[in-house]
Symmetry: C2
Subunit: 202 residues, 2 copies
DNA sequence: AAATCCCGGTCAAACGATTGATGGAGAGAC
DNA sequence: GTCTCTCCATCAATCGTTTGACCGGGATTT
């Protein structure tokens, strides 16, 4: 148990990075082994198999997401400003865990049955938590659920691929200026959705 | 030229569907051949190779997107309502070509250098067209470029993965009720962005 | 204390299967 | 006969997985 946890953890970290960057099919167990500084057989020994490893990676990512969102919900007031802050916290989370947006989108693009339970187990409950917190704040005529989906799509889209600047180059969350612009946009988007008066122009 | 175009076209269609559903790495040339009712060697004969085939698929998809967007821009008035209609037209396009959102997102998740030229050649010009059309309509303090990115992220996210209903099941563009809900949401989102008075509640 | 056993962790090597690609031969149109 | 299109057979490379052995150290036995 001295270096075993170390090995398993290194494998999980490497797999997380590679699955996020290259997708499931684009990542080989040998890549993961090399990135973790271990042998292919050791990866199989710790993870049981590529598919099991992927499931473990997704499980850990979802747990981190749930913890972050529950923590944010506990600290944020249940009013309009609180909802704006909540979206901001989620962006913080994606900045701290840059692999998660890509991991999420790759997973979202496939509908493999063996990861479907993650949606019932994690995604749907989190969606319900956020929606029920926002319901009493949002004015009539606004589709809260789709507002939340919009935040998710935008944050994951920006986090995983960034945007194209004027020269056609990608700019993403690692670009402070672009991140600030994205934050301002989401802040205004949420603010208008919850009926807050217009923010100061960014 | 009698049945050759037929063969090449069948291959391109099959490849488009499979690349959209399974991604580049998740699709094999044999799958494409089988889906097209042809032999693997025939695929190589017409397409030259898997990578060239993928490039051809992406090129065709982007051309269709450009044609649709240019057509929509030509027919739509240059005012607030026109911008709402423009977003609606783009949703129409994604409904007619259900593979495109997934194709787009898969491509967006990878940063392969041999497809990077597509961004300068297609994506950036289209973005510029839409942004310049919307600029004179949008009130101050709104980040037009990010509003357009929001439409793109939402439409592709919804088109490629759908949303989770109350039971954790996926609902997407093939579900008329969910599509209508999505349309209403985007319509309201664009309407508020261009400073239009609140729409009737959906 | 010394010798023995056991076991979790790691490795090189190999497994069968599948990958993208190619060469050569056959079929049909002109 | 020539050209276009298609298929069968095969290639080397890589895939995920398994095997059998080796190392190190704690427990057990003598």
């Amino acid at each position: 148990m001295t270096s075993s946890d170390n090995g398993r953890e290194r494998i999980l970290d490497a797999a997380t990075r590679l699955f996020a960057a290259l997708g499931y099919d684009g990542t080989s167990t040998r890549m993961i082994a090399e990135a973790a500084g271990l042998n292919v057989a050791t990866v199989a020994y710790h993870a049981g198999g590529k598919r099991d490893l992927y499931l473990a990676v997704m499980e850990r990512a979802h747990q981190a997401e749930r913890a972050a969102l529950e923590g944010a919900l506990a600290q944020v007031p249940r009013d309009a400003e609180g909802m704006v802050a909540l979206a901001d916290r989620y962006i913080d989370f994606c900045v701290e865990h840059p692999e998660i947006p890509a991991l999420w989108m790759h997973r979202w693009l496939s509908d493999a049955s063996d990861v479907a339970h993650l949606e019932e187990q994690y995604v749907r409950p989190l969606m319900d938590m956020v929606v029920s917190a926002a319901r009493k704040v949002v004015p009539d005529g606004v589709d809260i659920e789709y507002v939340v989906w919009t935040i998710v799509w935008c944050t994951h889209g920006f986090g995983a691929g960034g945007v194209l600047d004027g020269d056609g180059r990608r700019r993403g969350m690692n670009d402070p200026r672009e991140l600030a612009r994205f934050r301002a946009h989401i802040r205004r988007l949420v603010a208008t959705a919850v009926g807050l008066p217009g923010q100061a122009a960014g």
